[in-house]
Symmetry: C2
Subunit: 376 residues, 2 copies
């Protein structure tokens, strides 16, 4: 990004946006439209809602945690009626529970789910829910912010109408863009509303046009972020999606082994734990907020929980261009931090290293090649 800004109307920028868009289609596994817009992932999620519903429409929302609650808030803002389908905290939503909600709300317009609920580390069954949504004629909106690029996401095969992610998670690019796929069906719905959507900036028709034909301006684009995104997406596909997913699984596996050795239990049941981030319960009597601060002093950033779980849960991200050394360094920092807080523990690094040694070394290496400064 250390370069002169080119014009958002230039052929150079149009090429970058077109390429980023096409690479993103490969990663989303879609042949339909994708949109790249300046803003955060939250903007992308709200864009999906803004264009899918009209006032009074019911929207089923799988209530899996903090990010799902925010989707419900967005639905209300666009004058829809969110119907929360409560999910168990430590495991994914049972599909039959959503099916029951569909029965109870036959007029519902859309189904929203968070693929990896970042607040708990739980993975939801987006594939199965996609089948349900299709059968019931619901628009299907998936918040895949903490999954795309780190685990399998198949937009077309799994019937997603909107799949939303951000550059700064498993795709390992700088934040500041909303990335989303838009199905033909979603576009049809957006184009045949009774009333215009409530916003101009989130009008998906404008963004689809602007991403299809980057020389036609919609608003000024975040030029440098798009150039950086293109580079990051090239690296993702250079590594290869399957390989990248296996790396994420291997690293997650090692991280879990290390955390367990330090006396921390996985928060989700193991079958539902995400490969992109791990949430654990801190040992009785320890404050996860204090632990976060102590770990930060060791130069490593982890996170506490949200809401009622804020001080009980520790969340560790391991997505993007992360390798074994990040896992080991994080566990080492945790050991030191716990010692500082009066809990002598050990064996975390060793347990993770042992697990890592079971994998081919080459598989574990992220595509960390940094493009030469000044190069296009």
């Amino acid at each position: 990004m250390a370069r002169q800004v080119c014009s958002h109307l230039s052929a150079e920028f149009a090429d970058a946006l077109s390429e980023a868009r096409d690479l993103l289609k490969e990663i989303f596994r879609t042949r339909q439209d994708v949109v790249i817009a300046p803003g955060s992932s939250s903007l992308g999620i709200e864009m999906a809602i803004a264009n899918s519903i009209e006032p009074g429409d019911e929207v089923l929302v799988v209530a899996s945690g903090y990010y799902a609650d925010r989707i419900a808030l967005m639905v209300r803002r666009h004058r829809g009626v969110p119907v929360k389908v409560e999910a168990p905290l430590r495991r994914c939503i049972p599909v039959e529970r959503v099916a029951e909600a569909c029965d109870a709300h036959p007029e519902a317009r859309a189904l929203c789910v968070v693929h990896v609920e970042t607040s708990t580390g739980v993975v939801n069954p987006v594939r199965e829910l996609g089948r349900l949504a299709r059968r019931r004629g619901l628009l299907y909106i998936v918040d895949a912010v903490s999954s795309v690029g780190g685990m399998d996401v198949r937009v077309d095969e799994w019937g997603m109408d909107y799949c939303i992610t951000g550059p700064q998670k498993a795709l390992a690019a700088p934040p500041g863009l909303a990335l989303l796929s838009v199905s033909e069906r979603a576009l049809e719905v957006a184009s045949s509303r009774r009333e215009e959507p409530f916003t101009f900036y989130m009008d998906v028709r404008g963004w689809v046009r602007a991403t299809r034909e980057p020389l036609k301006r919609y608003v000024t684009h975040a030029v440098l972020l798009v150039l950086a995104l293109r580079e990051a997406l090239r690296l993702v596909l250079e590594e290869g999606l399957e390989r990248r997913f296996r790396r994420h699984e291997a690293l997650a596996d090692a991280m879990r082994a290390g955390l367990r050795a330090l006396g921390m239990e996985l928060f989700p049941e193991e079958a539902y734990a995400a490969p992109t981030l791990t949430a654990v319960e801190v040992p009785e009597g320890l404050s996860s907020r204090a632990l976060v601060r102590a770990v930060l002093e060791e130069g490593v950033r982890v996170s506490a929980g949200w809401g009622e779980l804020a001080d009980r849960i520790l969340r560790v991200g391991h997505m993007g261009n992360v390798g074994p050394e990040h896992i080991l360094r994080t566990l080492g920092a945790l050991e030191k931090a716990m010692a500082k807080l009066g809990r002598e523990v050990s064996g975390g690094v060793e347990a993770a290293a042992a697990r890592l040694s079971e994998f081919e070394e080459d598989l574990l290496r992220p595509p960390d090649e940094v493009p030469e400064l000044g190069a296009a």
Copy 2:
């Protein structure tokens, strides 16, 4: 921007956001709130509207060109009723015409105006309109995208409730952020609505909190763009606002002299021409679109007009960290391009150079110091 991304929750980022915010307050000349949000300037303008009006509210919009039309569109999206006050094409809106519109629409809620209408290069009297808005109890929303950083804008003194700009114009930072001031009155209105605004992402209350207290997250921020913005704002204030405005005026003066020598007449009446960009009519029989293409072949980007004027008008930007060499190079490229299109002209560069020589050389130099790579 050639650096590792820091976390949007880190103290380093919070420091950068706080400093950028405070520098921006100096530039806006406000002691009230400013907001820095990931998105384009259009997002900032829509944010002002989204939080100011409720369904059915009338909004006076000074209809000065393309960007004003888009404000009217945004008002409709938020279920307001835009009342367009037609402005003459080549000069600013007469304040009394707006006063008459106020008389005709005593229930109107807000007055919106574009300071420098980028589509015509006309400057509107935002100071006088601010007095009118205050007297009539209207919320006052100013699109200052093509003015802030290149000419005098006084948010508090001129009574602006929202003043919106972007980093990529006269502030000379990379695009991808919405920058806006928010008055106490605007916040009161946003906090005492009958109904919630129609969007979450544009809720100004959330953004004011997030910009006041950068450690409290709202959404993931565009970290690198904020770091670059801070650097750019430091340069703006290092040069000094008054000095920077005089530089813009001097360069505009030279550009106009050069364009006239090439046979192109200013589109706005001179008294209303912006110091940040110049719009001229191309000579009879010449297509401004063809001219834009021919100039681009010389490595310089200028723009055609909008709408009906698309092929008749040429627009040349000269805002940001621009110096005499940019003015001369642009004029030289124009001469060559016109020759290619069969119009031999000359004397543009000389006329501009003569005008430039009347100014102190030091005044004309932009703050082009590029921070060392790797430095914070």
